[in-house]
Symmetry: C3
Subunit: 376 residues, 3 copies
């Protein structure tokens, strides 16, 4: 507990934890002040995500490779998962889908691009292990195909289409999870030497990310890590509930389209902690780590979080969710994937590569910001 307090004292990001009680107090006193509550929840989620991320890494650092990898896969995007689960239980499938697409696009364009840019500001040319980047890009491409083909082939004829779509979504969800599991088996077991430079997916990453990222300190003792994991998850869930309730009203108040909030704001907040790690690694010329965090996180959401949410929707929430996304979302995922593949292909980076990625992201953000409500 002392370690935790010491960490909080040294890490200004964690001072935001003060907003966690503020959310609950605000909700009690002014349940109708949606705009205020929305801002409070955003501010409260950032430090919780940072704690969660550090705790996950500390647990993963204690275990062997395979288990550590699995833990990272399950818990790495825990914040996004908990937010999405809360929205799922409320039956807000649109918000769930928007946050999935937003997380994929934000990670593979903005987080990657800003890492390249920040790294490129300090170093003339940076190199990274392109085998690892390619694997993640290929996994993302598979996910994009799995989301694209159904909407391209099915010209939904209402009732028949709906039943068929549900079976298809089930099948695709299983397929994506299997692909993800095999990809982890490939990179952690059978061909791990190819991914060596990437320092990626095992104890090494956890340790480095912890060090590079939040506080420059050693992993926490396992007990503290597990307790933090449990406690913070509950807090995130509670805060998310307020967040999901307030988001729609707040969007109206701020004059933002719901699409913009779902895709951009939620995604940036949910990934805040990972971004801190990725950017810090880039500025230390450890671009392997940055690329691993950015693309790894994107493919994790596409191939693991999204299908798991779809499967869980059968047990939670009012109605099962399908995996059909609106055409614009599929186009964005496909473009993000192609851009990331194009740009990481050479294994070298300079600041302008980062600019390009950020520009593509800005094209998306600008379009979503200006989108007339209701035309998603």
């Amino acid at each position: 507990m002392n370690i935790l307090l010491k960490e909080i004292r040294h890490n200004p990001l964690l001072w935001l934890l003060a907003f966690v009680p503020a959310v609950f107090i605000g909700e009690k006193l002014k349940p109708q002040a949606h705009a205020v509550l929305f801002v409070l929840t955003l501010l409260a989620i950032v430090p919780l995500a940072a704690l969660l991320s550090h705790a996950t890494e500390s647990v993963a650092a204690r275990t062997g490779d395979a288990v550590g990898g699995l833990l990272n896969a399950t818990l790495g995007n825990l914040t996004e998962l908990v937010i999405a689960l809360t929205a799922l239980r409320a039956g807000q499938h649109m918000l769930v889908k928007a946050s999935i697409v937003g997380a994929i696009v934000t990670n593979s364009l903005f987080m990657l691009g800003a890492s390249f840019f920040l790294g490129g500001m300090k170093f003339h040319v940076q190199e990274f292990n392109r085998v690892s980047a390619r694997l993640q890009a290929c996994l993302l491409f598979l996910a994009a195909v799995a989301l694209l083909v159904p909407s391209a082939l099915v010209q939904a004829d209402a009732q028949k289409g709906a039943a068929m779509l549900q079976s298809l979504s089930l099948g695709l969800a299983v397929l994506l999870i299997v692909a993800y599991a095999l990809g982890m088996f490939f990179s952690l077991k059978t061909h791990r030497e190819l991914f060596a430079g990437a320092g990626h997916g095992e104890a090494g990453e956890a340790g480095e990310a912890g060090e590079a990222g939040e506080a420059g300190e050693a992993p926490w003792p396992i007990g503290l890590a597990l307790a933090t994991l449990g406690g913070v998850t509950v807090l995130v869930a509670l805060v998310s509930e307020v967040f999901v309730e307030s988001v729609q009203h707040a969007a109206e108040t701020f004059g933002m389209t719901p699409a913009f909030v779902g895709f951009i704001v939620v995604a940036l907040v949910g990934a805040a902690a990972e971004m801190a790690s990725a950017f810090s690694a880039a500025r230390k010329n450890r671009l392997d780590l940055s690329v691993g965090i950015a693309l790894g996180s994107a493919s994790q959401i596409a191939l693991f979080v999204a299908p798991v949410l779809m499967l869980l929707s059968y047990f939670l929430g009012p109605a099962p969710m399908d995996l059909q996304f609106w055409p614009g979302a599929v186009v964005m995922i496909l473009i993000a994937t192609l851009t990331a593949a194009l740009v990481t292909n050479g294994g070298r980076s300079a600041w302008f590569v980062g600019v390009l990625l950020i520009m593509v992201y800005l094209v998306f953000a600008m379009t979503l910001y200006l989108l007339p409500p209701g035309t998603q």
Copy 2:
């Protein structure tokens, strides 16, 4: 003749030849038993395709490079061509187009993917000549563009559109055949040294494929090869006629959509012999040969078989066929091409690359299987 009988005795695949007479007897006795006839024709086509493939290679092995290449181009996909011609004469343009798209997608995703996977089970990392793979991928890309642009540009306004589509299809067909001929000229004549490692497209391939593939024996004498070519082609044509008649009814009986039958079942059956060769080569660490067979076959169908069928439709069959495919089919060809290009770009392979290709194929197969009838 002795050689032929000896080969049949040693090659269990050829025992399936017993189903050839079964098809004709069945057709006489029970012309309405479509489901049974469908299964019988499938079983009968596999060994005939194997014989045809071996005979073609034996003839090609006797001739010089250029003629051998031309023969391979003309006869290599003879099974698919004969099935399609039969469907063309019956005016079943949808089935012709489905089998074309199915063959392209099956060869460039499933055959390539399974080769990578089977090879990767035995060898840690395999290398292949990427110049050859790139040429085939570029040719496939050109074909995909030629099929994509018309449907993207023409928002078919019925009557004007139809006439225009027919002229456009004619022009594109000529263009694709010219591109294919120039590609062969390039790889067999002017720049053949670049394709050296691939052992591809000339006597070498024919011999190796024959050896690697069907029976581990030397090429047949030319007389036997020519006689087999002629005789088996007639048999395939006769069996195909029964097949084309029964396929629609059989699909209903088995609860499969016509799209699934056309794309997946027919394509797998038609390419059975080539798959045997490609897989066997992959397991002998001759991945050049596998890639050459899989992508070469796909580009052959896209740039040679499809346009030739379109041109022949003016002389055979009730009405000329155009080259417009439904949007879903174009998307599948484009994705298959991009995937193959992405994956062969590095010239190296491991088992997971195969898994990725097969997964993309499964996404297609799953979607087609679940597609409500009538929504192609």
Copy 3:
């Protein structure tokens, strides 16, 4: 002035200058003879474009790197810009957009392809600096995304959509210009050593292009160059006015669709001078220069000329122009970009690569030629 006359005497292309007065005489005498006037203007624009290009290079050669680059960016596609401005003032937004898309596609497919083909006829395999080609391809890709996303996301619901589209176009225009400026800063300042082999974008190019291209002579003295720039720009503007008036009627007379005229004919004419330079460089085994001219010109039009035209439409012409292109145009830009990226990826070329690029261009040209009028 003597230098100018001497140059005209030695360069047969410039003899076409005789058609410039012919245009004005024709317009006075027979203002209704649209078809004749159309042909005269085409013939008159070619030598004017050549003069303009040489004058620009001469001016750029006198200045430092950054200013020279900026001048090239502003004046390099001056012919296209003046034609488009004339059409803009006449309120013919369709023609402006068609000529933008046509110039991008023609430069990145036909000019690049013909350079590879002509070079490949003389040299077995040619190498070029792929860093430079990749940068241009990435810039083109960004432009394609900026044009694709709005049309994919906005399912224009008439009135709301229109206002939103205008703001979005403004934002995207600024974004593209910033990206272009940063790209120039990157290639001319911070990382110019990476682009060394390309001899691209500064005095070197200007001198080489002048030498390689038009007349094999040294740059003009600055006074002559500036005077030529001014005088020829006025002439191009005057000729363009006749051209824009006659193009629609002439298209009908020749039985060509307006789309074909806008995309193919105008683009080929406007780029005639640059093509002469690019082809000549390819035949001298300076493929770096050819690739630089072809892709550099395409990305210049996409990221600089197009947004500038859009911004100028607020001050010139009857109504502001947006950046929404019809879907077929976006597909063509995207395919052209992908093809160029695919093909320049390896940094090596042979004649067949050129054939492939030209084939893709022919697919577009053929489709546009046959497109029923009114279905753009």
